[in-house]
């Protein structure tokens, strides 16, 4: 059985209209980690709200409530819920009682008030001209710096509004969702098998993690597991993606402190991996390989071995490079103590992935909720408590080495057999799955009927981590912002969807 099989959904477990429902607790007695909040419609198109928590057990705890009128905000008790509640309101028009300043999140000035795309018709929505007010920090000598949405490099769009005193950032307000493409709505009515391609286009550099998470959610709905060979090859793809992403990030950090040798070397190592991947499976980023039920086609075992040799060469070169970077005094000077995200803040905001592990939160879906081939491999999850740029860089460097080792071990003992099981997609479908993507926990939840999806929700690690970034930036000088931002390495498209 898939490790992420959800418990049966309790209906009307608490009264959301009235008092706050009891937030689930983890084993340590603290409020459990929030995974996601999202809305859906039942068969008679009545709105429902879903809350998913990680209570430290094998499976996530999912709670579903039908909505009449409004739901009570939990954001004041659990800040991690803040963006989810605003998104819930934007998508479904669910009133969030008690939420301070419930302003639009995913829609900008151009979207008219009162149009909720997940419940209303969305053809020919008129262009509007609403107002948006940034938080104004007042006081003597406080200035504002506006950056974006179009940035200076080859990066995605987003807006940052800094309130500064001299060089020091007092407050940073994010305004994102410029790349919002209505992806969750696109899943509606789409064939289950076509959904993979939408999932692959959520976050381009993490496309394989999205494809696997989506496929696993469908497999979970059908109560089948992908064949062992497919799971093993998926592990290779997932770890490859992590390796490429971490190498690229460490190179990006070098760029942002002007260490060109490190930056150029990292792009060289990354490119050698992408070319090896192209030789092995015909695509540089493992697009179009994972599908519900396994893989679209088998990969040649000999080619996988060659691929794993290329990975081992690249990993050795990267480990050398990492030593050079970590031992360079000017880099230590810039990385250390820059952009500290304290552990309690990371915990309140339910931060995931390398950012969480760099702030002392011991969390990794691969180990805590193993899926696919991960229960047959051994690995350590690096955790450190400093929470600064250096900590995030070190976590990535250690994880890259682990990824390379896992690829080798799996490639050397690749199971044989088929790579695709047929799925029975008729009838009701209801499934979910979590995957540790390079940026952290990625969770797919879907519902469907007779081969077609009725709802697919994506909890992306970037959506979870973006709200934490401004807290790491505050009290730093504005010149360190690109470096701190890069050390979080969050996807705009993955967040905006």
């Amino acid at each position: 059985m898939n490790a992420n099989t959800p418990a049966p959904i309790p209906t009307a477990e608490g009264d959301l209209q009235g008092a706050m429902f009891a937030l689930p607790q983890a084993k340590d007695g603290c409020v459990a980690r929030l995974v996601t909040i999202f809305g859906s419609l039942d068969a008679s198109r009545k709105r429902r709200v879903h809350y998913v928590f990680d209570v430290g057990a094998e499976h996530y705890r999912e709670m579903m409530f039908p909505v009449e009128g409004s739901v009570r905000s939990i954001a004041l008790k659990l800040p991690a819920a803040s963006w989810y509640e605003r998104e819930l309101h934007d998508q479904y028009g669910v009133e969030i009682a008690g939420y301070p300043n419930l302003r639009p999140l995913i829609f900008h000035e151009n979207w008219p008030d009162g149009v909720y795309p997940m419940v209303d018709a969305v053809e020919g929505v008129p262009w509007s001209n609403r107002q948006y007010h940034f938080l104004e920090v007042q006081g003597e000598g406080i200035g504002e710096v506006a950056v974006g949405p179009v940035h200076a490099g080859i990066i995605e769009p987003g807006h940052f509004r800094f309130s500064v005193v001299g060089d020091t950032v007092l407050h940073l307000e994010l305004r994102h969702f410029y790349t919002h493409k209505g992806t969750e709505k696109l899943f509606e009515g789409s064939f289950v098998n076509a959904g993979t391609m939408i999932a692959e286009s959520v976050s381009g550099d993490n496309c394989f993690a999205h494809a696997v998470a989506y496929s696993q959610a469908v497999e979970n709905a059908c109560r089948v597991d992908a064949p062992p060979r497919a799971s093993a090859i998926r592990l290779i793809g997932l770890e490859f993606e992590r390796l490429v992403c971490h190498i690229s990030d460490v190179g990006g950090l070098c760029t942002d402190v002007g260490f060109s040798v490190g930056a150029a070397s990292a792009t060289r190592i990354k490119e050698s991996l992408l070319q090896a991947s192209s030789r092995c499976c015909g695509t540089r980023y493992w697009r179009g390989i994972a599908v519900p039920g396994g893989l679209r086609f088998d990969l040649d075992s000999r080619k996988i071995l060659e691929f794993s040799q290329a990975v081992s060469v690249a990993a050795r070169q990267f480990s050398d490079l990492a030593q050079l970077i970590l031992n360079t005094p000017s880099i230590q000077n810039r990385f250390e103590t820059a952009g500290i995200l304290p552990r309690d803040m990371a915990r309140d905001l339910a931060v995931v992935g390398p950012v969480a592990r760099a702030s002392g939160i011991d969390l990794d879906v691969r180990r805590d909720h193993p899926y696919g081939h991960y229960d047959s491999v051994q690995f350590e999850v690096p955790v450190t408590h400093y929470g600064d740029v250096m900590a995030r860089a070190r976590i990535r460097i250690e994880e890259a080495a682990t990824s390379a080792r896992l690829i080798q071990e799996t490639a050397n003992a690749l199971p044989s057999g088929s790579v695709l099981v047929p799925l029975e997609l008729l009838g009701e479908l209801h499934g979910s799955s979590a995957v540790e993507s390079p940026r952290g926990e990625l969770y797919y939840w879907l519902e469907g009927h007779d081969e077609r999806l009725t709802r697919c929700h994506i909890k992306s690690p970037s959506f979870q981590n973006w709200p934490a970034m401004p807290f790491a930036v505050a009290d730093n000088i504005i010149a360190d912002f690109p470096l701190i931002n890069k050390s979080f390495n969050l996807s705009y498209s993955g967040c905006d969807r």
Partner: protein, 266 residues
Amino acid sequence: MIFEVIERSLRQPNRVIPVKALLGNCDGSRMPEVIVAQLTPAIAQRLVEVCPTAAFRIEEHDRRPRLRLSYGECIGCGRCFEPSKGGVVAAKSFYWCGHAKDRLVRVWDLDSRTEITPLPAEPKVARGQIHSLLGRALNIRQLDAGSCNGCEAEISALTNPYYDLERFGIHFVASPKHADMLLVTGPVTRNMADAVKTTYEAVPSPKLVVAVGACGCSGGIFAGSHAVVGAVDAVIPVDGYIPGCPPTPAMLITGILEVLRRRIAK
């Protein structure tokens, strides 16, 4: 310390891929090539059924059926390869980069099994030509109008030691005001439409606009979404198109040089 760094750099072999090996190369993109001899009406019908973005269509012309392939809509998923029984394979080389929109479409007559649209010339740029194409430098401003970041990853790769875009005198610049060319990725989202127009206006004339990727060329998988306005040319005028999901660095270089070649030939 610094000597160690310099020594490491010098020890690295030269990895630059020669221009000859780049132009027309599409390894890793899985763009489809139709083998016309294998094409039957039944196979053509199958292609239309499996294509998730309707890049393959069957049209009637003078009561003769024709197969139409629009590379602008193709996301290179490769789902057409297997059911085509050899009628469609991954292309070994690909010349449809940097052309006008109508040149992204190929049409085959299914009765006579012949291609009706002319093939583009093999992209060839000799060393001297590169200089005459560019004269001085070409400054590119990359603009993400709502992409998934896949195209950005490949565009960033252009500056790595394998592709080394700077050898052609092509640079990426930080401001549209310094740019000769806008390289626009993604479907244009509602939330980016204004910023795309403002950025276009900020580029001094004469300016070139290149739409990159399936989304930039046609809206791709996001065409028709309520949060998306459409392809890049729905918002600003476009001079050339580079298909692919995402286009590989070699396809991007082929496309950028082709747009320049066409501009100078005008």
